[in-house]
Subunit: 316 residues, 2 copies
Amino acid sequence: MTLEAVIQAQARISPHIHRTPVLTSRRLNDEAQASLFFKAENLQKVGAFKARGALNAVLSLDSDTLARGVATHSSGNHGAALAYAASIVGVTAHVVMPEDSLPNKIAAVRGYGGKLTVCKPTLAAREAACETIVRETGATEIHPYDDDRIITGQGTAALELLSQTEKLDLIITPVGGGGLLAGTAVVAKDARVSVIAAEPAEADDAYMSWLAGKRILPESTYTIADGLRTGLGERNFAIIQSHIDDVLLVTEEAIIHATHHLMHTLKTVVEPSAAVPMAAILQNPDTFAGKRVGVILSGGNLNLNAPPWLPSLGAE
Amino acid sequence: MTLEAVIQAQARISPHIHRTPVLTSRRLNDEAQASLFFKAENLQKVGAFKARGALNAVLSLDSDTLARGVATHSSGNHGAALAYAASIVGVTAHVVMPEDSLPNKIAAVRGYGGKLTVCKPTLAAREAACETIVRETGATEIHPYDDDRIITGQGTAALELLSQTEKLDLIITPVGGGGLLAGTAVVAKDARVSVIAAEPAEADDAYMSWLAGKRILPESTYTIADGLRTGLGERNFAIIQSHIDDVLLVTEEAIIHATHHLMHTLKTVVEPSAAVPMAAILQNPDTFAGKRVGVILSGGNLNLNAPPWLPSLGAE
């Protein structure tokens, strides 16, 4: 896993992704007493950085393999990203989604032409449904994060960010399965930029694993940051363990506040997972004060019909 | 009122405003069967194009006049814009706001250091309060739209848009008092680009005036597009009458849908007034099909605690 692989991924996917802008806000800088550079992956194709990894994985397959299609299980953005990537090359993407997935994320998979299978909301049910599809169709399973091509693909966001900003002191990303974090770490280590992970305290397996020096899988996790409920992947853990500087935990309340605050101040739509780094910055001012900080806004697929800062209205 | 005056305004204000990006969306283009170029003035200083006109007006005053401060009455973005402009040159902005102004708009005026006076929600009360302030302080009143410096300032958004896009066929803007529309018309006429205004049917005085060939002041107007409730200004009407091609009316339902749709698709935060042109495009497909259309997203100061597509929760 090298910078070279990320550069190759960038060349492979760049015709099909946006070079997303870097947003800044004087007000947020004042609040953090830092210089914050927000890499707006919420404006990426499919509304999330996941388009990068999925495209890199799909475009790495040979044409015979590709012709049999691709498959994955995902509660969210990776499913839409794989459907988008498959549509670019004209093959089928089979996407298994748990029945409790957000309606807007299910609609996105359908919108990009993905072939949807709904299953019970357990990891076992997801894996079983995906295995069946792979056996029956010959499709190649593309794991959402525990995959070298996914990791290098996600790393292209940080690669771009470094080319769009003067020397950063550190980059902060959210961590769920660890694809974005590991990809960012590969790039940042080479550039001698520190990397900090931000994770919901309600899904703190990356923090626990990092502390223990071994991968600890999460027990049942519930966080409003629906993109970060999954456990750290094996490959991801190995990279993270040796490359990153800290894991910061944030409360659910802080995530909800940061989601609202980013939308209010930057006027850009972010999903809760994307606001986890901002929550960590606001909760840990001493860590960031005076620094030039890259912040990856991982996605913008917020369910506008149920913003997390408003009381639930029941049916969506 | 010439293109030259708009170019001078641009030179005057450019150190203090953002050159806002132009956003595009394949999905929205597909829906409209047109090429839409969204000028993101929701990302402008103070979250609205109003920063342009207010800065141009303030920076046009001589230093003795400036020292006595500036004053205005406004239910929204112009108040915040004048407070921002005054803060740039270090003078006081007196802002009279009706008591039914949105809480986030009141907070914005305060946030930029404006001196706030709250009054009854009638034009007479607003004017009386503003006159008192002017008499007592010697401040210069800066009208939100019926003012040459405001009109040329607002025209700089269209000037920038034309420099950021290949030849457009037309530009569509919302119309309230007519500052943005008149400024856009001045620029577009010179560039031989058509101009269409979009107006809430519930506040249709620009449409009625344009049809009648004389300015017809609005009766009581209520529209969710709070920036567009005011009547057309005199100077504004004169320019609009001779420069624009059409006024399209849209329903409240269409405005609410377009607000949600822009936020969902472009991942950018818009206030209802800013979505009125998109509503007009969706309601009048034949007018726009096959054209290259500039759309001015006038502002992003949405009250996130009461998005218009959700049922009201009572207190905000």
